[in-house]
Symmetry: C2
Subunit: 363 residues, 2 copies
């Protein structure tokens, strides 16, 4: 089946572009001497995690316990849940999951660490934890100046192994230019590396120092302080990555195939893909909710739930009712979360349909 | 099980509030002499459609053919797909569905109407179509001044029955105040009513004249031009409806139960519900992505994919790691599309878990 024979809206993945993105990131990580632990929240799909493993991933990252369960079910055995696990139900599931695979999790407070300690001590086993450090995003994470003390207290808890530190330099999405991104990446490595060095004095060597994001990945250098990066978006890229200078339009591998259902006026077409297919994440400075793969000047100017308002005024061709187009979305991680399956495509031919197996695993 | 025993994030529906919302809208429609055909894209759930039928709904509205298939499968027999059906695959499914139930659909051009005509004429049957009229939103729909001519041409096509007209006055969400909303509702009725009267001269009486939205519903009067309204959001209400003055916070029936996973500083708490649970739809003039059910001054100031940044600086109490809260989201229709199931709750007790059966039925 050809891509254009799919009914719409449909989620489409260009495998040649994915392969290019995976090879590029593997090369970058290797050149910087970093382990690569891709964040699978972007695709939520075991078939793509497998390709990341084939491209040198040392393990996987997930955002949720439920995603970890899916990936363990699919055969993966080294998974980092880059999040706090809170609540008795989740702790019980985590205990069960660690019987099947090597799972590490984040903690950023004793309130999070102590129930984990109690549960694993009772099991007579140890859970690997990484302390989350806030390197500037202002989300979760302990402040760098308080991280050493928290590390010492976590190190002293039974049932836990202090395995290292992690951070997410998400403030990079607010950076003005590549120079500022480079500075954020350098500072991230410095803060995390110095912290790990101090803590190694009492916790021993071999700590994981995990950071990174897709836009900062090109800026890491050997000996910069991190030992591991967890980029996610790079597998597909999207309009946000293009706007941040972290990818070219030709690197965007994920699209939403949509049909023109109405042409209410010159230079305008209404698509059958709206916010429930394209999301509503904005790209700062770039109006609209997506752009056509065939012509980036054709922009989905806005979305309602079921409709995309395509602005063709700067585009190379007009469209008619029934025409199909591929839209590069603003934020690919959000879009995969809206579809139950994706069409894996090579040279315009659908080679397989993949369920987005970890979609909806919110807990 | 109590609500607070649910693992998080979880979608929660307060049935007492739903009943109040359904009764209020049924009363409004009856008082204005209008048939009520609720738009089920808001909840996508047969159990709630059934309650709407019990509260006097004359039929259901859906946004997608796939949603219609789910509702027909659940036993509903009168469904309007308020959208254009475009493409051979969808037309074939529509033909099949009309063998099981009374389905009507929208058309806003001959390009949409002619393939439907051909398919149903070949079957020797007739499909009921309503012409979509653009009353000011600028989305799909033929201009009012061109609608009579399109109606005449559709009326002349074999295989189709011209059943009426429909519109969606979505520009009401940009209205400044109730007076402007009332004017939009009055103009909608005038335009649609006059059109139907002219067309009845050649198409015969009994045309459906369908319009409306949740915020305009309180402004319709008997003899105002419409015969039917299709509000959707009213079943739950949300922060957007409160901001538009169309509901009180106490009318908001849908919440996302979330857990505090981190308290990085005074007056701040990080929730385990982010954009993948709360969406990113903005409410113009009201910053943030949601507010707590227990205290509307506590606002989810922003979201990342897996995290909500709760601002408690104006709130009545502080929160600790592990505490659970219910968030009233900005836009309930989008949020139900993110969850596979919802907890139906009465007086804090979970009485049933309902699958969001039409979620993901995008085609």
């Amino acid at each position: 089946m050809r891509v254009l024979d799919l009914d719409t809206p449909a989620l489409v993945v260009d495998l040649d572009r994915v392969e290019g993105n995976l090879a590029r990131m593997a090369h970058r990580a290797a050149a910087a001497g970093l382990a690569l632990r891709p964040h699978t929240k972007t695709h939520k799909t075991p078939q793509l995690a497998r390709r990341q493993a084939e491209h040198g991933a040392a393990g996987l990252t997930v955002a949720k316990l439920g995603e970890a369960e899916v990936m363990v079910g699919a055969g993966f055995r080294d998974i980092f849940i880059a999040n706090q696990i809170v609540g008795a139900q989740k702790v019980a599931r985590l205990v069960a999951l660690t019987r099947q695979a090597e799972i590490s999790v984040g903690v950023d407070s004793l309130e999070v660490a102590e129930p984990l300690s109690a549960a694993f001590a009772q099991e007579g086993r140890r859970l690997a934890v990484l302390i989350e450090v806030d390197v500037g995003l202002g989300r979760c994470g302990v402040a760098p100046e308080a991280a050493e003390e928290l590390a010492a207290r976590v190190h002293a808890l039974s049932g836990l192994t202090l395995a290292g530190f992690f951070c997410y330099p998400g403030q990079v999405y607010g950076a003005r230019d590549a120079k500022e991104m480079e500075a954020i990446a350098a500072e991230e490595g410095r803060v995390m590396g110095e912290l790990a060095e101090r803590v190694a004095a009492f916790a021993g060597p071999g700590l994981r120092v995990s950071g990174g994001s897709s836009p900062t990945a090109r800026h890491y250098r050997p000996g910069g302080g991190l030992t591991e990066i967890r980029p996610g978006t790079y597998v597909f890229n999207d309009r946000m990555q293009v706007a941040r200078g972290a990818a070219e339009p030709e690197d965007c591998a994920l699209t939403v195939l949509a049909t023109v259902v109405s042409t209410p006026g010159p230079g305008r077409a209404i698509l059958d893909a709206g916010s429930k297919a394209l999301g509503t994440d904005p790209v700062p400075g770039w109006p609209g909710q997506g752009m056509l793969k065939e012509d980036n000047r054709a922009v989905v100017a806005r979305v309602n739930e079921e409709h995309g308002f395509l602005d063709l005024s700067a585009a190379s061709r007009s469209l008619r009712v029934g025409d199909k187009v591929e839209v590069i979305p603003n934020h690919c991680c959000f879009v995969t979360n809206l579809f139950d399956e994706m069409a894996a495509v090579r040279a315009g031919e659908v080679v397989e349909m993949w369920p987005v197996l970890a979609r909806g695993r919110m807990q």
